[in-house]
Symmetry: C2
Subunit: 413 residues, 2 copies
């Protein structure tokens, strides 16, 4: 598979992820699908590590989703095995066996229980996964475990990504400094791979699974659930957070996520997830522009999100933006299509901060040259107020370009 | 605006629409937006004509939608004025005045009441419509009324269509022969016009407005509501049926649409609407393939429709089809994304009648060459059974091609 050109929206600088106590990793070339690159990641966590996850709601999930859903309930984890190249989806019982056997073998090398090993797969679907190759590489991976191989780990889980996605933050819990590292993958689909968004977060903070789950869920709602590339939702999306519990105050119980001691951690976690989500949408197939759609004045936050997603998922809006066209008419159409309450005669739209429509009518004289300059840049900002109440939401997407079709249509099976 | 190449999916033969008693029409060049072509249609109906309409559910409708919604309730109509080139949308009170004044002037030349004149507009949005030009052309249009100018009428209402859309059927009501003619327009969007689907049906049958409404609503559910080009929904979609009541049994009351005497009329009307709807989706921007998506085994007919629409609206499925790729994996993903109940281990998929997936797994040896031949043809047939119950639905769409983007992105404002 020839290398893809790096997205024009890739971040200028790579973040550096430093070791987190209690967490080690190793990457291997298991030749599941790709040749000549790392495609298998083993992460090992010290005993006492707590875990939480958020999994796809797609009704056709792969067996690894079901495996994780079942075993995340214990709230503890000792390992994670991720393979890129085969999504282990839609292959009947073979896929279920593949999960179980991989977990069993990983548990053997990590000296833990199979149910403490999380499994994730991304890549082609419908082809039985050669899990024996994963298993064969586990002993060597265990021998090679190191605490500073984060960048390689991020590259290992890539499928159609054009750049590895990483983020890191530090936070303070009751005066203790803790670290949060995150890696993610996801861009879109290249035949016959499935779009899959995976994100794995590791922190050395000492946190119980219930709080991890609550914070991850909230964080995902504010990040990965606010991006869309083409409106399609994978069979394999998942986000997981592992807390090695090596840093932080002893003998302190946090009752809820609203505990003031967790405020900084929460903020930093949400910010990290948002950072990774923006990296994912920046790698949308063929993307040339990152688009921020901010809706205000809706009946509720959920209504605002639905309106924003209606705009962000509209092929006509995205195609117009690809052509640097400030086509606010299509934005009006997408607002109307959302089915959400909107006051036609109070509708206002701004592009790049310049108001182009106000009170349901187009603004007679707005600075077209400023708007054009904005539309020709890589970061597009659309604001819509629907004049009903105070609900707000912001979503991100990318434009719809010829390159999207080159990737998704211009090939033969 | 340079002429567009005719869609490769346009019908081979044009249907001939012959006169319908009690209905006359005339087309004019009012230069609202286009030059050198007819862009204004006046239709006149004899007294006694009954009418029903189905209008867009988009929450940002144009004023003509509101006008028609209000005046359709009387169930009678004497005129219809349609203009192409300006959708009369999003221009505040100017648009409301434009409707009212146009109806008033049309009523004057047709010698009826303004509320008996229906108004429809399609074209650019946000620009105040030059309705004085419509009004100026009404006297000449009235003088030119003729009963056989159907083909010109169909061409007059076109905006981004590449061919005029017409259909005709004859039906029998209690042994009386009646005629049904229909014209429609709609394909998609070219900057800065809005996607609008308009369809106008005229019959000489003698039918009360309540039955017209019931049959039209049901017919639209089975036709225009089962097509999608890019999932976007116009601010101005409408379908109207006018019955001049010139033919058919006197003094017969039909109690409901289920009256056996109406069976043939119903069938022919639904068939005509379906015909027009297929013509519209065949003119989807950039379409090179007409795609039929048939879902069975769903929890209900509505669930089946939602699954089918999820597949039909998926950019990834449509792009794959544009590339003649039988990518059933994306179809699986789209089924899962629909949120509807589906049995993963009973899922089966057939392409061009060849089963490619069965019982949740891909079929080991299917005739790839037959499937490839099918994928390279202009008519694509996808069947999905989700193995839950007996709900069925069939929807139509077209593929997503570079030409779509050339039309929608490759231009400057």
């Amino acid at each position: 598979m020839k290398p893809l050109p790096v997205s024009p929206l890739a971040p200028n600088k790579k973040q550096i992820l430093t070791p987190i106590a209690g967490c080690q990793m190793a990457s291997r070339n298991a030749s599941i699908y790709y040749d000549g690159r790392f495609d298998m990641l083993l992460m090992a966590f010290d005993p006492g590590t707590t875990v939480a996850g958020v999994l796809t709601t797609n009704k056709m999930p792969g067996p690894s989703i079901n495996w994780c859903r079942k075993h995340l309930s214990s709230g503890t984890a000792r390992g994670l095995v991720v393979n890129a190249g085969n999504a282990n989806v839609f292959t009947g019982t073979h896929g279920i066996v593949a999960c179980a056997e991989t977990a069993k073998s990983a548990a053997a090398v990590l000296k833990c229980q199979p149910q403490e090993v999380m499994i994730a797969s991304t890549g082609v679907i419908g082809e039985p996964i050669r899990y024996e190759r994963i298993i064969a590489n586990l002993p060597a991976a265990q021998a090679e475990l190191a605490d500073d191989a984060w960048e390689i780990a991020a590259a290992t889980i890539m499928t159609t990504d054009t750049f590895a996605k990483m983020a890191s933050r530090t936070a303070s819990i009751n005066g203790h400094s803790v670290k949060i590292n995150g890696i993610a993958k996801g861009s879109g689909m290249i035949s016959p791979n499935m779009a899959t968004t995976l994100s794995f977060i590791v922190t050395d903070a000492k946190l119980p699974p219930s709080l991890l789950k609550a914070m991850l869920t909230r964080g995902i709602e504010r990040s990965f659930n606010l991006i869309t590339v083409d409106g399609d939702q994978s069979t394999s999306d998942m986000a997981m957070i592992f807390a090695t519990c090596k840093s932080g105050p002893e003998n302190i119980e946090f009752s809820t996520t609203k505990d003031p001691a967790l405020r900084d951690f929460r903020r930093k976690l949400y910010d990290l997830l948002h950072d990774l989500a923006i990296q994912v949408v920046s790698d949308g197939e063929g993307a040339s522009k990152l688009i921020r759609v901010a809706v205000s004045g809706a009946a509720s936050a959920l209504a605002a999100k639905r309106i924003a997603m209606s705009i962000a998922n509209s092929p006509l809006v995205k195609a117009a933006i690809a052509g640097a066209d400030a086509n606010w008419g299509r934005i009006v159409m997408a607002v109307g299509k959302s089915g959400q309450k909107a006051n036609r005669d109070k509708l206002s739209i701004a592009i790049g901060g310049i108001e182009v429509a106000n009170n349901g009518m187009c603004v007679a004289r707005y600075d077209k040259s400023k708007v054009n300059t904005h539309m020709n840049s890589k970061n597009i900002d659309i604001e819509v107020d629907v004049g009903v109440s105070r609900g707000r939401s912001i979503v991100w997407t990318c434009d719809l370009t010829h390159r999207y079709l080159e990737i998704n249509a211009d090939y033969r099976n």
